[in-house]
């Protein structure tokens, strides 16, 4: 194959088509094929342990739009996360009674996400970016829980509105570039935003609006709790695990390289919002009575740490923030899956609907406790490494941000542990549905073991992971 990167996003798309006939078997086969292909690309392109940049160019069309893919370790890392979580999702929803479209949507989502991480032409970047919305809209709207339509529409409109700002910014960027240089191009590497003059802040903030909605950053976050709560478990996993990462990826790939000075000048505002998100997300999570909503709010806090690291533009901050993207995908993914398992069994999600599950479902209690600890940043598990490095980066740039971030770390325990206790330790109250909860079966345990061992690995020996991402981020260090 001469076009491995194109194959990378076409494979899951082909899988989506095949799913229409083969349903779950097609999904399983193609997500395994996809994961294998990602692994192949990752191994094939690495030389001396460092992933070299691969490019794939196509023809140039009108207005300088060109088909242009490229992969460095950041791209491949996030694509690997996509492929891995996609496989996990397929395995986790294996026994669901769902039509073929469900599986097709997941494969299509994986394809679009891969496209986002590969595209180096801003037009294609935008197209893939928006394409992710369609399968996710159906996943939430068709297979979600009771209030799914409202959540799906809210998710779509909210994130779409953010993307419109991004589109306007991109159009302004490209046309301003054309006006100044006389060249039409959407190529990320060729665009130079430093000559834009007065348009530059508009373009920058337009891009930020698009990314901030996806991340999501306070105050643009309110689509997230609804979408997560109503989405089916696997949908939440993909949403939290990969889709939220698009926002940070956009910052790393587009906003920071194009606007090195502006992004640094905006640090007090953006970093302040990120640091505030960590505390705000934690406080909101404390007030929730729905398990899934609580995890959703905790995502806002976690992504705040990623942002703090990335925005600090220090070596440790960027690398730690990026690793935190992966960490959050694994940890929150595992938590959402387990809430999904609970919901499949008992059709409830409230904290007070359960109790005493530690005796009834010890495996579930073990994995949930493990993932909870990872999510509150227990050293030795993955969350700590990312948080620590991100905060270390933030501290060297704007100490007050790190101070707020550490407060957020402290608060994390204040929402996660009471929730764990309410579900697993407290005695089952009247009206509790704990009796319906059976312990995890082999398939579910295998899925969670995989995730847990990865968490442990990153927590104990994060160095290979950091070394993998670091070269791709070196250029962003201030």
């Amino acid at each position: 194959m001469n076009a491995p990167l194109t194959m990378l996003w076409l494979t899951p798309l082909a899988g989506a088509a095949v799913c229409a006939f083969l349903a779950r078997y097609g999904a399983l086969f193609f997500s395994m094929l996809f994961a294998g292909l990602v692994a192949g690309v990752a191994c094939g392109q690495s030389s001396g342990g460092v992933l070299s940049v691969v490019n794939e160019l196509g023809p140039v069309w009108a207005y300088g739009i060109s088909y242009r893919l490229s992969a460095d370790s950041l791209s491949i890392g996030l694509i690997a996360l996509t492929a891995f979580l996609n496989l996990i999702c397929v395995a986790a929803s294996w026994e669901l009674e769902v039509p073929a479209g469900y599986w097709a949507c997941f494969m299509a989502l994986a394809s679009a996400l891969t496209g986002v991480f590969l595209a180096r032409d801003l037009f294609f970047f935008y197209v893939f970016w928006e394409a992710t919305l369609i399968p996710m809209f159906f996943i939430i709207g068709l297979w979600g829980s009771s209030n799914r339509l409202h959540a799906a529409v809210k998710f779509f409109l909210f994130t779409f509105a953010g993307s419109v700002f991004m589109l306007l910014a991109l159009l302004a960027l490209v046309s301003a570039h054309h006006r100044i240089t006389g060249v039409w191009t959407w190529d990320l590497a060729a665009l130079d935003a430093t000559t834009l003059g007065p348009v530059a802040p508009l373009v920058f903030w337009g891009l930020i609006a698009g990314f901030a909605v996806k991340i999501p950053m306070f105050p643009l976050h309110t689509w997230l709790p609804d979408a997560h709560t109503e989405a089916p478990a696997a949908g939440s996993v993909m949403l939290a695990g990969v889709m939220l990462k698009m926002g940070v990826y956009g910052l790393l790939r587009v906003a920071l390289p194009l606007f090195p000075t502006l992004s640094f000048e905006a640090l007090p505002i953006l970093g302040g919002l990120a640091a505030f998100s960590t505390i705000y997300g934690a406080l909101c999570a404390m007030a929730q009575t729905d398990l899934k909503r609580m995890i959703a709010y905790s995502s806002i806090a976690h992504l705040g740490f990623c942002l703090l690291g990335v925005l600090s533009r220090t070596s440790q901050g960027l690398t730690g923030g990026t690793l935190q993207l992966i960490n959050h995908g694994l940890t929150t993914g595992a938590l959402f899956l387990m809430v999904g398992f609970l919901y499949e069994r008992a059709h409830k999600r409230g904290l007070s609907d359960f109790g005493d599950l530690a005796t009834r479902a010890p495996y579930l209690a073990f994995f949930f406790g493990f993932s909870t600890l990872a999510s509150i940043g227990l050293p030795g598990l993955n969350g700590f490494v990312g948080e620590f490095m991100a905060l270390s980066g933030a501290l060297s740039v704007l100490p007050i941000l790190a101070f707020a971030g550490v407060l957020g770390v402290t608060l994390a325990a204040a929402y996660a542990l009471p929730a764990f206790q309410a579900v697993f330790w407290a005695p089952a109250g009247p009206g509790s549905v704990s009796a319906k909860v059976t312990d995890l079966n082999r398939r579910e345990r295998a899925v969670l073991w995989t995730l847990s061992l990865l968490m442990l690995w990153i927590g104990l020996a994060p160095r290979p992971w950091l070394a993998y991402f670091e070269p791709a981020l070196r250029g962003l260090v201030r």
Binding site: K154, Y280, L417
Partner: protein, 633 residues
Amino acid sequence: MTAAQVPWAAWLLFAAPVAAILIGFFGFRRFKPEWTHLPILASCAVVTASAFWLAAHVYTGHSFDLNLFRFAEAGDWAVDFGLRVDGPGVAVLAMVSFVGSLIHLYAAGYMKGDPGFSRFFLVFHLFFLAMIGLLTANNFVQLYLFWELVGVASYLLVGYWFHKETARKAALKAFLTNRVGDFGLLLAVLLIVLQFKITHFHLLYLKAASGATFELLPVIGFLLVWAACAKSAQFPLYFWLPDAMEGPTPTSALMHAATMVTAGVFLLVRSWPLISLVEGLPHLIAWIGAVTALGAAVVAGTKKDLKRILAYSTVSHLGLMMLALGLGQIATALFHLIVHGFFKAALFLCAGNIAHALHQPTANVDDVGGLQKSMRLTYLSFLLAALSLAGVFPLGGFFSKDAILDAAWHHGGALAVMGMLVAAGSAFYIFRMLFLAFYGARPEQKQAPHAHEAEPILGVPVLFLALGAAAAGLLKEPVERFVLMGWRGMPSGLAGLDLVLNLPGEPVLPHLNMTVAVLGTAMAALGAFAAWRLTMSDPGFDWRWRGGAAEAVFESDFGWKTLVDAFVRGVSRLAGFTGRVLDKGGVDGAVEGSAGFVRAAGAAIARSAQGRINDYLWWMLAGTAILLLRVLR
């Protein structure tokens, strides 16, 4: 030195517990849960042997410190993990492994037949492992890792009987309070990375001793003290410890004697070369220690639950260690930590034996009295440990407490007076407990005819611990030597460490100041006499004085608990406001409101369109006419 030259014993410290936990978790827990303790007890034996071997190794001048692998790295930012086996670490390690192993043995008997036996032992051993890791860490990040692991293991153990609401609440309180302390430690570690670019203890000592000024050092030092206050249960963050006795008794014993609360003191010992450079900070530590020690000693004298008395006693003794630290007496603090480990473990296990004899999770002074006759071995152990705690010559507690009082006496002023008062208070509460539980059987107390001596697996470890508490005075010289070797005896020959030892403040003290020894013993005698007066010669007193304002004052720890509760309520109210009002009504309300606005506007416009084709045709005609006009003009 390379990794290959690290003695086997050092590897075994980690390999044995990890292997035991893995075997227990994947093997015994599934197939033979009631045997889970076997690999773990074997691991305890290995760890104790290794720890003693290492102690001997270090004592003969072979301490070492080396980086084993790079934990994390990005650009010029890096954190290495390694192993530091030096005097202070190994001195505490030897005590922790010995006392901890005896408690493990005791737990095998105490927890027998409990449905969660296997889970208990796995977490218990994890707790132990975490403390070993903490004591052998060679940098702050690694220390933080094990520090948190200690916290998690204690959380799981305090909440072990999670069906009890009190246990759940106590576990949460312990973890969250520690988390508040960890806020300090995490920030301190981050600031250390920022200020010094390294976290390695030894290199930090060198940098700190280089004479350069580090503007962040005061903040770092203060945060470290804050963290130690939470872990070592000092004012203002002490309040979680008395509640933490909701866990099974072996947990309390391990937590109070060996693995948890000593971590804070140890953290300060480890970072002493940094803290001592901060003007006024040692003084603050001394004051925190003195205030905590005195307050907790007073409150301990009013409690009814046996384990709660001991818990406040721990707070008080940790305060004494802090006092010694604050006065620059690191060796004295560590010595008291070790002696305290022995007598406190023995006392807790005695309380456990009493509860076990009554078939209750805990015992209260209302439940028992006059156990002297029915539980002779427990009585004997308790007596030895209690005398040691009260500082009676020539038991271990006398030497360690005397050294602290000596330091306070030399410092003079209020600290000296407070030290003496603590000595009296300690004697009072422990003798009160002794008299109430083992003597008499007052009319207010239930007779416990079925109380019987515990089986040997419960009795013997306690006796060993009590004997250890009695004889621990002999450890004074070795501990001092160990501490000196902590900073001077590194074989790598790093120069400049002697500078660190020139700590500001206190002069070197002569051994055994007779004035202090006599005065301290007199204070202890005074306390013991007061206890006798109020429990033996006036047996009903303890039941008479309760119920008034005085009890409320003591129950709320002089009002501090009330303040803390108010603070916690405030935070949860803030969270409720943020989540339910601000986010749902404010931020999300704006979003949903905008959708509602669009919908309402749409409905308003839709009213003009009735859906009849003819109407639309008219509109179309009008539009076309306007367009035509525009084109024709």
